[in-house]
């Protein structure tokens, strides 16, 4: 692709997904766009870009955006949801689960592990208030390749500089050659498992908090609705659901209602309103 093709594509993806792709990863972009081009009988990425420029269709733009962002993830992605988890959701769990001293968190599309490990770091930093508590982070993904990387917990210099404050890098990672390996104690806090969201969620058990971020976009509305309803059914009434920043349940599932003043965070529609006394 020529530089202006790349600029056009990064602009398009930024506009559609809010994701800032680096223009320096041209080879990676091309490899992801090749199958999209082929499916449409086009020779390659350049022809694909020409097609979007010539006659932009929503379907084509969506395919291209999705292809370019399939496995994108980052530590503490979008910042705000993780701050909410640390400052509101976790303290609430400590209060509401004081009797059982146990809670479970599920990352439903964990990709290469940055999301569950971000949660593990938050729990680790809150260790003082968690003594005597049992907690589990279950991280699943449909892709065995992604999970293998997640389990290894080894990240490139670029990956550890996206979303991760340098203080946390120093505290929780060890440098091995050019790569950074996560503290085995954090790795032990996360249980990884291969799992396809489209195949019924029952076997996973119950979860107080579910992160199902930036994955529903790959499903049609019916599947989205079914997955959301199943998530609702494995959650207590005071559970919390985190979707991606630009994702919504609106028109797809009436099992959840958005938290006020938060993007992409939901609670069961028939559950207690936030701020109301803890349900037992």
């Amino acid at each position: 692709m020529r530089p202006d093709d790349v600029a056009f594509l990064t602009g398009l993806v930024a506009e559609k997904s809010g994701l800032a792709l680096s223009a320096d990863k041209v080879a990676l972009m091309e490899s992801r766009l090749m199958p999209v081009a082929r499916r449409r009988g086009l020779k390659g990425p350049r022809e694909l870009v020409a097609a979007i420029r010539g006659r932009p269709s929503d379907a084509l733009i969506r395919d291209v955006t999705e292809a370019m962002t399939v496995d994108d993830t980052a530590f503490f992605r979008d910042t705000a949801p993780f701050a909410l988890f640390r400052d509101v959701v976790l303290p609430q769990l400590l209060e509401r689960r004081a009797a059982t001293r146990a809670f479970r968190i599920w990352c439903a599309a964990a990709a290469t592990g940055q999301e569950p490990y971000s949660l593990a770091m938050i729990l680790k930093e809150a260790a003082d208030s968690l003594t005597g508590w049992r907690h589990e982070i279950v991280a699943t993904d449909v892709s065995a390749g992604m999970l293998a990387k997640a389990r290894a917990g080894v990240y490139s210099q670029f990956e550890v500089q996206r979303g991760l404050p340098v203080q946390m890098l120093m505290t929780y990672f060890t440098k091995r050659d050019a790569l950074w390996e996560i503290d085995p104690a954090l790795r032990a806090m996360v249980r990884f498992r291969e799992f396809d969201l489209r195949h019924g969620l029952r076997p996973l058990g119950r979860f107080d908090v579910v992160f199902c971020r930036n994955v529903l976009i790959y499903f049609d509305d019916e599947t989205k609705g079914r997955v959301l309803n199943e998530i609702r059914s494995l959650m207590p009434d005071d559970g919390v659901l985190f979707l991606g920043q630009s994702e919504t349940v609106h028109g797809i599932s009436d099992g959840f209602t958005p938290l006020p003043d938060q993007r992409g965070v939901f609670r069961p529609a028939d559950g207690p309103a936030p701020g109301s006394p803890a349900s037992s």
């Binding site: 800032a20 670029f158 500089q161 404050p165 203080q167």
Partner: protein, 121 residues
């Protein structure tokens, strides 16, 4: 508009960094070494400094110490950057008063993330 002083002996490195920053709507000024950078700060204190500290040049560290002693010199967020990526080096930078640390080479996404990290985006 947020401002950033880019300090790096390499003209090419400064140009690349400035391009990334301008794309984030950050206004840039440049300095080739610590002395020049200090003069800029004495004239107008920037909101942030992207400061190269790659040996053998020791200049970056001396500048950071001097900056923090200037009136108002505690205000700018200092993002140290270096091709040294060993934890000891990073710790030293943080102890000297840097707010963040960027390992070279970096891409535009790393710059965006780090500037967000220190609260400038």
């Amino acid at each position: 508009m947020t401002s950033c002083l880019v300090v790096d002996p390499s003209k090419v490195a400064r140009t690349v960094a400035c391009r990334f920053l301008q794309a984030l709507q950050i206004e840039t000024t440049e300095a080739a070494d610590g002395g020049e950078a200090l003069a800029v700060c004495e004239a107008t204190m920037p909101d942030s400094v992207l400061l190269d500290w790659t040996p053998p040049a020791t200049d970056g560290m001396a500048f950071l110490t001097a900056l923090r002693r200037l009136p108002g010199g505690d205000r700018p967020r200092v993002l140290m950057c270096s091709s040294r990526t060993d934890p000891d080096h990073i710790r030293q930078a943080m102890e000297a008063g840097a707010d963040e640390y960027i390992m070279k080479p970096f891409d535009s996404e790393v710059i965006r993330s780090k500037f967000a990290q220190v609260g400038l985006l």
